[in-house]
Amino acid sequence: MAKIKIDGELWERVKKVAEAAGYASPEEFVTHVLEKETAALEGAGADEEEIKKRLQGLGYIS
């Protein structure tokens, strides 16, 4: 499993928020947030393609 470095002050805040939000551990919270954001960005990539297609249906842009 990969390890990442995180700023100490941020880590304290993460711990607090994770506990308040009812996560079993700060690690679980971090994993959840990363998964969500990654999925959103991956999804956004596909949509960008759609946006582009829509705008480029305009003859002026190919």
Partner: protein
């Protein structure tokens, strides 16, 4: 709003599904008004260029125009800033500039989300829905909005009981709700909510099939001389995540002969190689038998063997059963279609994308453009026959779209000129000018001594030899910073921009915006510094020279603060680019991409344009009455027309009557 959601909002397809083809949104009745002494007739020919008119008249191919010019007014007509069709026709409709109507470019961006969108219309899916298993039932109707603001001169006519016919005027989708006979023009989407997406079925897909824009290549495999494939319809908002609705096509090919049959939902059509079908109705099921979306397509069987190639037109809104509002009264589109035959309803029907992507050869493209023209002429005959009083407007897209695509074939200086092209290809632009001569002859038959008659175009034309990427220029000159410079090649549509270090960005075909604090979400340019920065940028851009030709690329960079007046002026881009003839913005710049080179040669067949400096692409004005104005412009026409009917123009109209 997430980028994902933007799609749903942009997708007019979603609104098609929401409306479900059930209820037309607009219902107005065109009552018979009191008879009037006056008639005003406007023949609108998008993109007709004064110089080309002179050239083709001199060659003898336009006798009606020649005769008309001899006894009447003919002069250039000032266009809009920037000279793009939606902006220009909005000037015409409102009798005012973009500061009033709020259309500044084909493409705008939402300053809150920094997402780009097409400026003419917007559709919103139903806001309240309820989920039932896999079904999503809308509780409120989705809506489609016309984003143009300001007055509309035929509304004033209708209010004063002047009967009006307005056929296919651009920037009028959905059509203004009015007691007049109108059919919407440029801005009217296909059923998918795009400006036109063709489908191309082949067992020999080209290498760039995935990069098609304005079209979709569907790879197929024949088995026992047959295949099945889907035709894509509107986003189905009755399903979770609104997947596109599909219609299954089954296609059979004769074992040896060049003939094929296409079948779908109980309908079938047989075509020989090289043949076009008529319009055929297609029905996309959205929620079983409860809701559907109806459209229509034309098929073109390009090749049967060795490779199979079938082109299917964008799924147009069927004028006989419109899935979205395209006319007032809502039955008017059908009324015309029943007598003149069905016609393309999508904004710009000429399939320029199919030619750009080599799905059509030159002759095939011209054959399709000819179909569009023939249909339009049939509608002209039909609407003229129906007109005897009041105001009449009729619009042709042929000259505009075909000059964009075919100028290169008549201009030996063009990098894409082919000396060996067949004469009908080289003479294509002239051919469509001659066709307008026929349209003029038909219209003149309705012009009598109580008629004020205009022929107008929204802009002229210029060759498009070289492209300029303003975003690369801004990046190279330190006005834009990328969040991740290593992803430069993948950057598009305002992603990957480091807004904390970006001062200005280009979007659309002529617009440059400052990253303004208080307007852009992460703006850094203080409002009081904006004018100075805009002036500095304008001066630097005007001084820029194409490294390969040594020529200036931009004749004038307009500071919108000096040009636009009105309630919408604050939304304007700070700079409007006035390109020199021969130049235009690069496609990738409009999409906010950052290729290495700022200038390069134009390689797409869309190789003439008008999105340049307005005085260099003026339109035409022909009139059977003396014109007093020295420099008439598009926005002067609405007040002129109103005055002809003895009506006072609304205060927002800044144009002035032009007749003596």
């Amino acid at each position: 709003m997430k980028r994902r959601d933007f799609l749903k909002v942009t997708g007019t397809g979603a609104a098609v599904a929401a409306a479900g083809g059930v209820a037309p949104l607009l219902e107005a009745c065109a009552g018979k008004a009191r008879p009037l002494g006056r008639k005003v007739v406007v023949l609108a020919i998008d993109g007709m260029d004064p110089e080309l008119v002179r050239r083709f008249v001199a060659r003898g191919g336009m006798p009606t125009f020649k005769k008309f010019i001899e006894g009447n007014a003919f002069m250039p007509l000032g266009t809009s800033l920037p000279p793009q069709s939606p902006v220009a026709w909005s000037d015409f409709i409102t009798g005012a500039g973009p500061g009033v109507h709020g259309i500044f470019d084909f493409i705008h961006r939402d300053p809150e989300t920094m997402l780009p969108y097409l400026s003419i219309s917007r559709s919103t899916p139903p806001s309240k829905t309820v989920k039932l298993g896999r079904l999503v039932i809308p509780l409120t109707g989705g809506k489609v909005e016309n984003l143009r603001r300001g007055p509309c001169f035929w509304e004033v006519l209708a209010r004063n009981d002047v009967p009006a016919v307005v056929f296919k005027c651009p920037s009028n989708f959905p059509p203004v709700k009015v007691r007049a006979k109108t059919v919407s023009g440029l801005g009217t989407p296909d059923i998918r909510g795009t400006y036109g997406t063709f489908s191309y079925y082949t067992d020999d897909p080209p290498a760039d099939a995935d990069e098609f824009t304005g079209g979709e290549c569907i790879p197929i495999r024949l088995w026992e001389e047959a295949f099945t494939a889907d035709l894509t319809g509107p986003a189905n908002t009755f399903r979770e995540n609104s997947p596109p609705a599909k219609l299954r096509l089954t296609v059979y090919r004769d074992p040896t002969r060049d003939v094929a049959k296409i079948t779908w939902g109980g309908d079938e059509v047989i075509l020989k190689k090289g043949e076009w079908s008529g319009w055929h109705r297609v029905r996309f099921k959205l929620a079983g038998p409860l809701a559907d979306a109806v459209g229509m397509v034309r098929f073109y069987l390009k090749e049967v063997r060795p490779h199979f190639r079938l082109y299917v037109s964008p799924v147009n809104i069927d004028p006989l059963e419109p899935a979205l509002p395209i006319s007032t009264p809502s039955k008017y589109a059908a009324q015309v279609a029943r007598r003149a035959g069905r016609y393309y309803t999508q904004g710009f029907p000429e399939d320029t994308k199919a030619l750009s992507h080599d799905v059509f050869g030159e002759e095939e493209y011209l054959a399709q453009a000819e179909i569009v023209l023939r249909e339009r002429l049939a509608c002209l005959d039909e609407t003229l026959a129906d007109f005897d009083d009041g105001f009449y407007y009729f619009y042709f897209s042929s000259i505009d779209q075909n000059t964009h695509m075919m100028w290169r074939t008549m201009d030996p200086k063009h990098p894409l000129y082919r000396p060996d092209a067949p004469p009908e290809v080289k003479g294509a632009v002239e051919h469509f000018y001659r066709a307008m001569d026929g349209a003029l002859a038909r219209t003149l038959a309705k012009v009598d001594d109580r008629t004020t008659f205009f022929i107008i175009s929204d802009h002229g034309f210029a060759p498009f030899y070289r492209e300029f990427n303003v975003n690369t220029w801004l990046l190279d000159n330190g006005y834009i910073a990328l969040a991740d410079p290593f992803r430069r090649a993948e950057t598009e549509f305002l992603d990957n921009i480091d807004w904390g270090r970006t001062l200005a960005y280009g979007l659309g075909l002529n617009s440059v915006y400052l990253n303004l604090r208080g307007r852009e979400p992460r703006g850094i340019v203080e409002p009081e510094e904006a004018a100075a920065l805009a002036a500095k940028l304008a001066a630097e851009l005007e001084a820029y020279r194409d490294p390969e030709t040594g020529k200036r690329v931009l004749v004038k960079v307009y500071k919108s603060r000096d040009c636009y007046r009105g309630p919408a002026a604050a939304e304007a881009p700070e700079l409007v680019l006035g390109f020199a003839r021969g130049y235009r913005l690069a496609d990738d710049s409009a999409a906010v991409e950052f290729p290495k080179r700022i200038c390069k040669v134009r390689e797409d067949k869309w190789a003439a344009d008008h999105c340049i400096d307005p005085p260099h692409v003026r339109g035409v004005l022909f009139c059977n009455k003396p014109v007093a104005a020295k420099a008439p412009a598009l926005k002067d026409l609405a007040p002129t027309i109103l005055k002809e009917f003895g009506l006072e123009p609304p205060r927002e109209m800044t144009g002035r009557p032009i007749l003596a």
